[in-house]
């Protein structure tokens, strides 16, 4: 599903990722962890095609991101959900509109967009809040809206960057349960986190990054 070959990413003279080679299989649930600055976010952004590697190759479903056209990358992104650390919600759009946007870009029928958005908001427990605006929601609710937007298009891969970073333990549990239910539906889930608590009680594969290199992999 996701293959990285000798992947290196530099920002000026700083090396964010250094010669990484690994493979994430279809349907896996993977944590990418490491201290701040280890390269977790860069790792996710490279997989998402939001960054270009300095060297090496990334293959998503056997498609080489180095050789893909801009238009095809746009289409590929419709099959990858991304939950951003800062949520990236639009404050002047309702919860419903924030989620529906992911389907509108695909040019789906309005009826289908409505149906899928309602279903997804029900799944994340926000059916009652679909007419609310993001700024009127709690941090946990905003996080769930961001997750809903990422999964509404039923992606093959779900990438999440520190999805529980600002949440209390109860909300963290709820959000993780949500990720598990999404995973059980067949989606490959990759979560970047520096939270040790999150990893302590998990039997999922964990890739540890340190100074841009893979320093551990339980897979």
């Amino acid at each position: 599903m996701i293959q990285l070959f000798h992947l290196t990413k530099r920002f000026g003279s700083n090396i964010a990722l250094d010669d990484i080679t690994l493979r994430i299989k279809r349907g896996e649930f993977v944590f990418v962890t490491g201290p701040s600055g280890a390269g977790k976010t860069t790792f996710l952004r490279l997989v998402f095609g939001a960054e270009q590697p300095a060297s090496g190759h990334i293959l998503i479903n056997a498609i080489n991101l180095n050789r893909i056209s801009r238009a095809k990358l746009d289409l590929l992104r419709r099959r990858i959900g991304f939950v951003f650390q800062d949520f990236k919600l639009l404050p002047n759009k309702t919860v419903f509109e924030n989620v529906a946007i992911a389907l509108e870009v695909a040019g789906l029928r309005t009826r289908l967009i409505r149906k899928s958005t309602h279903q997804t908001l029900r799944l994340v427990g926000l059916a009652e809040k679909e007419k609310s605006y993001p700024l009127s929601l709690s941090g946990g609710e905003q996080q769930r809206v961001a997750i809903a937007r990422a999964i509404v298009k039923e992606p093959l891969i779900l990438l999440a960057d520190e999805p529980t970073g600002n949440l209390d333990p109860d909300l963290t549990r709820d959000i993780m349960a949500l990720f598990r239910s999404i995973h059980q539906r067949g989606t490959t889930v990759v979560i970047a986190t520096h939270s040790r608590e999150l990893l302590e009680f998990t039997d999922c594969r964990t890739i540890v990054l340190k100074e841009g290199k893979v320093s551990g992999d339980t897979g």
């Binding site: 939001a50 238009a71 746009d74 990236k88 870009v105 695909a106």
Partner: protein, 295 residues
């Protein structure tokens, strides 16, 4: 079809969010098109009037003072023998003076003080419309001028040529001013759309992150420019038409005592103005959208 509605809805939302900027932008389109349209309207009408005037060939033959009746008879006979020529009127020195006094009205006082009448007697000749194409006025002019007793000969097309030269200069000026105005319009629309893009920067970034193609993001902005162009064009044409109605109800005298007919722009010109407005709108937004946030 679904996307078309989405794009239109999005473009209208963009316009509503930055309403003041869009109104100002539309105002500049209207102003530019009004100037251009008014120029076309006036230019078209003047050209029409001149063509109308030029199609009837008239000639004035001025006589020397104290031309004898014998010489005048000879001139008279010569004119009558010209193909298609008709003497519309013989104007004696006194009649010329009376006409001038009538034209000057209250201001004619100083003429009374003149020791002698300086105005020449003249013939007004008109040529039949059907035969004017076959007539060479310059040749006839030199033939009449050679007659004994003739001081000077002038014909209408001589003036027409001079006015046409003047019109060419006006036309060139009009096109230059029009071109500059169009550039201004493109610049203003482009900046208006840039403001919209700036205000939607976050949304564009998110659209790109969830897989929107470049055209999906661009289309509402292009439509926004097109809508500005359409609205601006429509308002300008309406205002031009209202202005025309105000003018058309009054008699306009330019040449001669007959009021001139004032015509509105032909449909072709209206379509041209409208297309220009639409084109400028789209071009302005096209320049603005250039490259989008690279995500």
């Amino acid at each position: 079809m679904r996307l078309r509605f989405y794009f239109i809805r999005q473009a209208l939302t963009n316009m509503r969010r930055n309403l003041t900027v869009h109104i100002v932008s539309m105002g500049t389109i209207v102003a530019a098109l009004l100037i251009l349209g008014a120029f076309l309207l006036l230019f078209g009408n003047i050209k029409g009037w001149l063509q109308q005037w030029g199609s009837a060939l008239t000639m004035s033959v001025y006589l020397k003072d104290n031309t004898s009746a014998y010489k005048r008879d000879k001139i008279d006979s010569f004119i009558r023998a010209l193909p298609g020529a008709r003497i519309r009127r013989f104007i004696s020195k006194q009649e010329a003076m009376d006409d001038l006094k009538a034209a000057l009205g209250d201001e004619a006082g100083f003429i009374e003080e003149l020791a002698h009448n300086p105005l020449p007697a003249s013939y007004e000749i008109i040529f039949d419309k059907g035969k004017t194409d076959a007539i060479e006025p310059a040749q006839i002019k030199s033939q009449i001028q050679a007659l004994d007793g003739v001081e000077d000969v002038q014909y209408s097309r001589e003036w027409l040529k001079r006015i046409e030269g003047f019109l060419d200069i006006i036309r060139l000026t009009g096109y230059t001013v029009g071109g500059l105005l169009c550039l201004c319009v493109v610049f203003i629309i482009s900046n208006t759309i840039k403001l919209t893009i700036y205000s939607r920067k976050d949304e564009i970034e998110i659209l790109k992150l969830v897989g929107a193609t470049d055209w999906f993001v661009r289309m509402p902005f292009l439509l926004e420019g097109a809508i500005l162009g359409i609205l601006g064009g429509a308002v300008a044409v309406l205002m031009l038409f209202s202005g025309y109605h105000l003018l058309a109800t009054r008699d306009v005298y330019l040449i001669g005592p007959t009021p001139l007919e004032f015509a509105f722009l032909p449909v072709g010109y209206l379509i041209l103005l409208f297309s220009l407005s639409l084109g400028l709108g789209i071009l302005g937004s096209f320049i603005a959208i250039g490259r989008f946030v690279d995500v």
